[in-house]
């Protein structure tokens, strides 16, 4: 363990902890835009600058390892003025169209601008303008809103192992894009969307479907593969409009293309809405009462005629434990046969 002092408080943290992580462990807030706890430190936004006794210039707390006896100051008029300058510079090259932005209310840049009360900006000048064409079907990339924090680049490389995007060009024209600025063509896991602190990366399917206000979040478990990722369904009215995942879960907030973007089936118009019974070779709508009476009657007929072992049930790896339990209980206890299986083999 290492002992250091942050803002006058003496703290103990494990060896290898950065100053930023040390401060966060003890709920001392240092603003950042580029840092993400699951990614290697970047040190690009410069908001997390702190003063350390004995070091002549402020250093980024996200990249500086805590050291024994270190004395750190996280806030001072000088530091706050630097942070304000950095924010003003970012905002001087940002569309500032929060009014219509998909991420309003869920945007780190917006939050910081609010806390630093940046109403007037000393800086103005050229802004980057990009055409918004990208033929990929999943991810909306509004690069004018990109603050080049590098999180998407890192998550794609460090977590997903794909490296579909990187920094390109230099200076003010620096930009994050796929090779040769082609359309994004990747695994579309959307990890980049999950870590983007602004409205630069959003889901195409979410567009104008509702922002944070009025959205109900329901935590559940993904219904695709066996990984069992935790999902948060964003619900507006009776519709799932977005899927995210919390960082403090087993899957650490990461999802795949199916988990993150493949939720449209829930509200699909093709969903079955009424029981159907085959009449004269065609399936026709019926009431639940009629349908279930029919099923029960026919099952009883078969059982009476051929015995319970002439009936079999196929259960579902899609359904819950409780439903599977009840299904086999029904087949075994009510029908009276062990002819029950599911698709474990496919």
């Amino acid at each position: 363990m290492i002992k250091l002092m942050i803002d006058g408080k003496t703290l103990s943290v494990p060896d290898g902890t950065t100053v930023l992580d040390a401060a966060r462990r003890f709920h001392i807030n240092i603003p950042t835009l580029c840092h993400h706890p699951k990614l290697t430190p970047f040190g690009g936004c410069r908001l997390c600058l702190v003063e350390i006794k004995g070091i002549p210039r402020p250093v980024t707390s996200c990249t500086t390892p805590a050291a024994e006896g270190m004395e750190v100051t996280t806030t001072s008029p000088n530091l706050e003025s630097l942070r304000k300058t950095v924010l003003e510079l970012i905002l001087s090259d940002h569309p500032n169209d929060c009014m219509i932005c998909e991420r309003a209310g869920d945007c780190t840049l917006q939050e910081l601008a609010y806390f630093y009360g940046i109403r007037k900006n000393r800086f103005s000048g050229e802004r980057r303008t990009y055409s918004k064409r990208d033929g990929n079907p999943f991810i909306e990339r509004d690069m004018e809103k990109c603050i080049l924090c590098g999180r998407c680049v890192k998550v794609c490389d460090e977590v997903e192992g794909v490296a579909a995007i990187d920094f390109a060009y230099r200076g003010f024209k620096s930009k994050i894009c796929p090779p040769y600025e082609k359309d994004l063509n990747c695994e579309f896991c959307g990890q980049c969307v999950a870590v983007c602190p602004t409205g630069a990366l959003t889901g195409k399917a979410w567009k104008q479907r509702g922002r944070q206000k009025d959205v109900r979040e329901v935590d559940t478990t993904c219904a695709y593969c066996g990984c069992g990722c935790s999902l948060t369904l964003h619900v507006q009215g009776n519709e799932v409009i977005r899927v995210t995942s919390r960082e403090d879960t087993l899957n650490e907030g990461w999802l795949c293309v199916k988990g993150r973007f493949g939720y449209n089936f829930i509200n699909s118009p093709e969903r079955l809405k009424k029981p159907l019974i085959r009449k004269d070779g065609k399936l026709e709508e019926a009431s639940w009462e009629t349908a279930l009476d029919y099923v029960a009657g026919r099952l009883k007929d078969v059982r009476d005629k051929y015995g319970p072992n002439a009936i079999a049930g196929l259960s579902s790896a899609r359904c819950t434990n409780e439903e599977n339990y009840l299904f086999q209980k029904f087949i075994r206890g009510v029908i009276g046969t062990n002819n029950v299986d599911h698709c474990a083999r496919y």
Partner: protein, 598 residues
């Protein structure tokens, strides 16, 4: 009976083939000499044999192609030689013994050299850089042999520390201390990297050293490798230096063939090998952490320090990164001893420094001076003063990271501390001389254009901050400066310096701050009076015709591309200010100086 070639006297024709020499036609000059000699051979039998020697940069690039004709003890130097002159020199000088007077070097060549002190450049320009034997003949590779047989790595570090040499890349960090930190760093694999990504506008010191004496760099790297415990070195060199790259490749190949690189060198158990990594033209890759990223195959983006490369550098291993000039000094320090080296220079700045002297100065070229020499001596004694006898305004040191030093500080001695005190830095060695026609706002803008374009884009203050600085400077030079712009520049400059991630951003405001410090009035004149005192900012100039001088010849009218000049023949002409595009064509063509510019 014909004399056999062995018994004939030898004449050596030595031709500069540094990039400057090549550009001026060095290779063609050699061919022309060869052809002339063989042409003469047909008719007469020569009483000498002619040998050709290609050499690296000799410094006085303004007079390229420089050719030495060495006949026994006498050596004659020609300047500005073109291929068609070769025949005359062969006939008149080589055959008839009469040097061709009109092409001989003049006095300025001697005054150019008088105050210089050539240590690194002594061999550069006299030995053939494409022949490892040439380097060995002048004492090359004796330094590494000496340390392998008589010194421990700690001894070497002690020697380098005692010499007092400081990094020549710009910041002046003591080289021995850096080596010592790396030596002590944990790790079984370490690296030595030579930073040859020379990128300052107008700087060509490192290029010239590699072109002229590549083996001195290799030997310096070997000594450093031995001292820190590295077995592999990288030379990171810009791809825009093809001649330097070729010579370095050749030097490495020759070193391999002759057992100067590889396993178990010179009978010891020390092994060392070298790889070349070509830079792709990003200025920021001269920053050591960006350079590391680039070698690793990543985009050249700086990483936060600490950890410093001596602890976690290339591939995460302890790494020393030294500049070309620093490494090139090392063999000479080992060969001649620390006390020899520390006798040159001042108390805290030892040895010599190579500068690329350019700008509005008569004798442009590559110079090597002892530390402590005064700026004025360089500009007037070595440089021969300002071209066209214009007024000196400032000298810019340290390129985009540096600053301008004005007239009244020309007594400043060239030491790390004294130069920093002026607001500039010694830097890697770019020295650009400015005269009265240079607008200082424009100069600041020039450097900001450079740093803005070369910013890697990683950190906000550098990426957006320098852009906003540039925009403010730009509007000032276009007469659109506002009250408060100077204060805004100063505030932004100071925040960029403090908040930027790497050296590029941290020093990017220096050209603005140093010009503001010494030439604030020029900024004020642009903003308040909408005037450019140097008459360089075209948008601020007003052209008019002085009616009492104008002869009405109509030359200006014909030269004006915008049709802004009117007037009848033999009667004073007029410029329509609304149409004038301020190109200055009328000013240049008027024989009577009747066009006024203010």
């Amino acid at each position: 009976m014909a004399q056999s070639d062995e018994t004939k006297k030898k004449v050596v024709v030595r031709v500069c083939i540094g990039t400057g020499g090549l550009a001026a036609g060095g290779k063609e000059v050699i061919e022309a000499f060869k052809k002339a000699i063989s042409d003469f051979c047909v008719d007469i039998e020569l009483d000498f044999t002619c040998h050709y020697q290609k050499v690296g940069c000799r410094g006085f690039c303004a007079r390229d192609v420089l050719v030495d004709v060495v006949d026994g003890d006498t050596s004659v130097t020609y300047q500005g030689i073109k291929p068609d002159i070769a025949k005359r020199i062969v006939q008149e000088h080589l055959i008839n013994g009469q040097p061709v007077k009109e092409w001989l070097i003049d006095d300025s060549y001697y005054s150019f050299h008088s105050k210089q002190m050539k240590v690194l450049l002594k061999d550069c320009g006299t030995i053939d850089p494409e022949d490892i034997q040439a380097y060995s003949k002048v004492g090359g590779y004796t330094g590494i042999r000496k340390i392998l047989s008589t010194m421990t790595p700690e001894d070497v570090i002690a020697e380098i520390k005692a010499s007092g040499i400081r990094g020549r890349g710009g910041a002046g960090f003591p080289t021995g201390v850096k080596w010592e930190a790396c030596r002590k760093a944990q790790g079984d694999v370490k690296y030595i990297v030579c930073n040859a990504d020379e990128g300052d506008p107008g700087a060509f010191m490192d290029r010239s050293i590699i072109e002229g004496n590549p083996h001195s760099v290799i030997e310096g790297m070997m000594i450093a490798a031995y001292a820190i415990g590295a077995g592999l070195g990288y030379v990171y060199i810009r791809a825009e230096y093809p001649a330097a790259v070729e010579r370095l490749k050749l030097a490495i190949a020759q070193a391999h063939e002759t057992g100067h690189l590889g396993k178990g060198l010179f009978g010891s158990d020390f092994s060392f090998d070298l790889r070349i990594k070509l830079g792709a033209g990003a200025f920021v890759c001269g920053e050591e952490t960006a350079l590391i990223a680039s070698i690793e195959g990543e985009r050249g983006m700086p990483r936060a320090k600490p950890p410093f490369p001596v602890h976690r550098g290339l591939w995460g291993r302890p790494t020393v990164i030294n500049n070309v000039e620093t490494l090139s000094n090392i063999p000479y320090i080992i060969r001649n001893g620390a006390s020899w080296y520390s006798s040159i220079g001042t108390d805290k700045s030892k040895g010599t420094k190579v500068f690329a002297l350019t700008g509005k100065i008569r004798n442009t070229g590559l110079i090597e001076v002892p530390m402590g020499i005064r700026l004025g001596e360089i500009i007037y004694d070595i440089g021969g003063g300002i071209i066209g006898d214009k007024k000196f305004k400032a000298v810019q040191l340290g390129g985009p990271s540096g600053g301008c030093i004005p007239d009244h500080l020309l007594d400043t001695p060239v030491t790390y501390e004294d130069i920093v005190r002026t607001g500039a830095i010694v830097g890697s060695g770019g020295m650009v001389v400015l005269d009265e026609t240079d607008c200082m706002v424009n100069i600041a803008k020039f450097f900001l254009e450079f740093t803005q374009a070369e910013s890697c884009g990683k950190c906000v203050p550098c990426r957006i901050g320098t852009k906003r600085l540039l925009e403010i400077l730009d509007r000032i030079t276009r007469g659109l400066g506002k009250e408060g712009d100077i204060e805004l520049l100063e505030a932004l400059c100071s925040d960029i310096k403090v908040a930027s991630l790497c050296g590029l951003g941290q020093t990017a405001p220096n050209p603005v701050l140093s010009t503001l410090k010494y030439f604030r009035h020029e900024y004020e004149a642009h903003i308040k009076d909408k005037k450019c005192p140097a008459k360089a900012c075209k948008d601020l100039l007003i052209y008019s015709i002085l009616e009492d001088i104008c002869k009405g010849c109509g030359v200006c009218k014909r030269a004006c591309p915008a049709g802004a000049i009117s007037g009848d023949k033999k009667k004073p002409h007029k410029i329509n200010a609304d149409l004038c595009i301020r190109c200055g064509a009328c000013f240049d063509v008027c024989k009577f100086n009747s066009v006024n510019r203010e």
